[in-house]
């Protein structure tokens, strides 16, 4: 299966789920010309039709129009996966540990992943960048802009 087929099937599945959910939207009242479900249902219809056409097109043997770097895009990247895992953990830890600790952990871990910290120099860069950036943003938001951070 090519990427277009995966995309179309995933989108069509979502459309079906959301269309069923749209049935729970309250019916139109006497003073409404159309109900609240109509607009999202029109959009789901457009998404469904375009996804079906993408699906059909994926079966037709025509030359694919190459996007910039499309081959590069299909490669599974462990670093990207790691970034998402670290970011998800950061979002979960933010209310528990607070901004300063969780962001410090996030920055050090993320740079550790990307810089492949294996020399003392890289460790210094990692700690220094995190040590400057995290408190700086905290001070700017909290005292400069009066924005509360957890």
């Amino acid at each position: 299966m090519n990427k277009d087929r995966y995309l179309a099937i995933a989108v069509l599945l979502m459309v079906v789920i959301l269309f069923i959910e749209s049935e729970n939207i309250p019916e139109k009242t006497s003073w409404q010309a159309y109900g609240s479900a109509l607009y999202p249902q029109i959009l789901l219809g457009i998404i469904g039709v375009t996804a079906t056409l993408v699906l059909l097109k994926s079966f037709i043997n025509i030359a694919p129009i190459e996007q910039d770097g499309s081959k590069k895009r299909l490669v599974f990247d462990w670093k990207v996966f790691g970034i998402f895992v670290i970011f998800g953990s950061y979002a979960a830890l933010l209310p528990i540990l607070g901004y300063l600790i969780s962001t410090m952990v996030f920055m050090v871990t993320m740079q550790g992943l990307l810089l492949e910290v294996n020399t003392p120099k890289k460790w210094v860069v990692n700690i220094l960048t995190s040590g400057i950036m995290v408190p700086l943003v905290y001070v700017i938001f909290k005292f400069g802009l009066n924005v509360w951070l957890p």
Partner: protein, 507 residues
């Protein structure tokens, strides 16, 4: 208008606002200088800092970033041979060869002044055409506005590099995202029993998630290939030969004016932006040149065509945003999101209801153009050094700022999760080669489209009215033409690629 402009100048001219414009320009140039960072990302990162500001100050800061960002792309283009933003791709064609010949200061200086003149000319276009278009569009009623939004979305989807279907799908997904939560009749939609969804999604975390994650992850994926094929860097010790640059510019007056007008006009068209302006202007300059073969070898003409046009997009893109409420390009879609979050609805009425704010945008653009040249002259060699900041440090820092910005919007952790979820969605869609600009535009225009469409239907329940009112029918016809044109263009591209693909498919 004159009185409002004077009042706006007084507001923008105070020390606090001037320092914000200065900071914005500085950050914009830095953002534009770093390859892969882009103007859009710079705007997204700075936006949270405007939350506690009044609209004039917030807009002044953002305009500074906008102007600085478009001019900053030249730095990495000349010094590294890598365009800092997609809108400075053609700058590299002549900027990098000139730098390699030992004249990086000349290349940067020419680009810097061309950017300055481009911005000035586009401000003139904005001041002249903006109110005229707004005045004309005052006659637009819900049917026309609905049709105009549909046209803008189909145009953007159609311009998505041969992916019309995916572009239309992305636009519809963007529009759909705005239907989550309570609608204007207080009916709850798609909350799945999860209470935080009842308020719907904030525009900002959705936009940051979709755009920033896909952009940063693509940068991360490129790390390996860039390291293996790194271009030869130019020394960052620069000397700017001002006399030579003045001679270069005085010989290119027509080129500057033509490229700036192209940039301003392209910027005013929905869905085009700096990249299109850049290529179109470079192409025109080359075609009209006495010696086209010299283009690409490091001549001032190419740098001027490229930089004047991409900077002129700044003023041009404000025309449809302010006058019609339709953003001209992706950075402008984000700027429109900024205005909406500050409680301002861009559109024809803005010129009547918020003349001081409109005037402050003009004034901020003008001041930012001067600040940009000032910053570039003083700090050029530092920008050249900053352009070498590695992605390994940049990516975590930007993601951290995105998270903090999303949280600070409402002091709500749910927005950080929205950022994360839409980050995953944006990345997956990018992997599937789905253009993201239509999606972001859909998110920005979604609420307005629904409001206008149903206002029209409340006034007249018949759907045919959309096609019987002249301007509404005209915009729908344009939307149809843009789709048909895109289909024909895709077929032509597919036809040219077919023989190549057949050869590659053979075992």
């Amino acid at each position: 208008m004159g009185e409002s402009l004077l009042q706006a100048l007084t507001q923008v001219g105070d020390l606090y606002t001037l320092s914000l414009i200065f900071a914005g320009v500085l950050f914009g140039i830095i953002g534009g200088s770093i390859p892969g960072f882009t103007v859009t990302m710079a705007i997204l990162v700075v936006f949270p800092f405007t939350f506690s500001m009044d609209p004039v100050s917030g807009i002044a800061l953002m305009v500074g970033v906008f102007v600085g960002g478009y001019s900053g792309g030249i730095v990495s283009g000349v010094m590294l041979g890598i365009p800092g933003t997609p809108s400075s791709i053609t700058t590299v064609y002549d900027g990098y060869p000139m730098a390699k010949k030992g004249e990086p200061g000349r290349a940067l200086g020419i680009g810097m002044f061309a950017s300055f003149f481009g911005t000035l000319i586009s401000i003139l276009m904005l001041v002249f055409f903006g109110p005229l278009i707004a005045k004309f569009s005052m006659n637009f009623r819900p049917w026309e506005i609905t049709a105009l939004i549909v046209f803008a979305l189909t145009l953007v989807a159609g311009l998505s590099n041969g992916a019309l279907l995916k572009g239309l799908m992305a636009a519809a997904i963007g529009l759909f995202i705005t239907t989550v939560g309570f609608d204007r009749n207080s009916n709850l939609r798609f909350d799945f029993g999860f209470e935080p969804l009842s308020d719907g999604f904030e525009i900002l975390p959705v936009m940051i998630g979709v755009f920033a994650f896909s952009q940063l992850m693509s940068n991360v994926q490129s790390l390996g290939s860039e390291q293996s094929g790194k271009k030869e860097g130019i020394s960052t010790s620069l000397k700017i030969p001002y006399r030579k640059i003045i001679i270069d510019l005085s010989r290119q007056k027509i080129n500057i004016i033509r490229s700036s007008i192209i940039g301003g006009l392209v910027g005013a068209l929905p869905g085009t932006g700096g990249t299109v302006a850049n290529f179109l202007s470079y192409d025109q300059a080359k075609k009209l040149s006495r010696d086209p073969s010299k283009y690409g070898t490091g001549i001032p003409d190419g740098i001027i065509a490229s930089e004047a046009s991409n900077s002129a997009v700044a003023g041009g893109a404000f025309i449809p945003t302010l006058a019609l409420g339709i953003p001209g390009d992706l950075p402008m879609a984000i700027m429109m999101g900024v205005l909406i979050l500050h409680g301002i609805t861009p559109g024809p009425l803005m010129f009547e209801q918020n003349p001081i704010l409109v005037g402050s945008i003009y004034a901020s653009l003008l001041i930012a153009a001067f600040v940009m040249v000032f910053c570039q002259i003083l700090l050029l060699r530092w920008f050249a050094k900053i352009s070498k900041v590695p992605q390994q440090i940049l990516v975590p820092s930007v993601l951290m700022l995105c998270a903090v910005g999303s949280f600070a919007l409402n002091n709500n952790l749910f927005d950080v999760w929205v950022l994360f979820i839409f980050g995953i969605l944006g990345y997956l869609l990018w992997k599937a080669a789905v253009p993201l600009t239509p999606l972001i535009l859909g998110v920005v225009l979604g609420n307005n489209l629904e409001t206008q469409m149903f206002r029209a239907l409340e006034l007249d329940p018949s759907w045919t009215t959309f096609f019987t009112r002249p301007f509404s029918a005209f915009f729908f016809a344009l939307a149809l033409i843009s789709v048909v044109f895109s289909i024909l263009q895709n077929r032509r591209i597919a036809h040219t690629l077919k023989p190549k693909a057949t050869i590659e498919a053979r075992p």
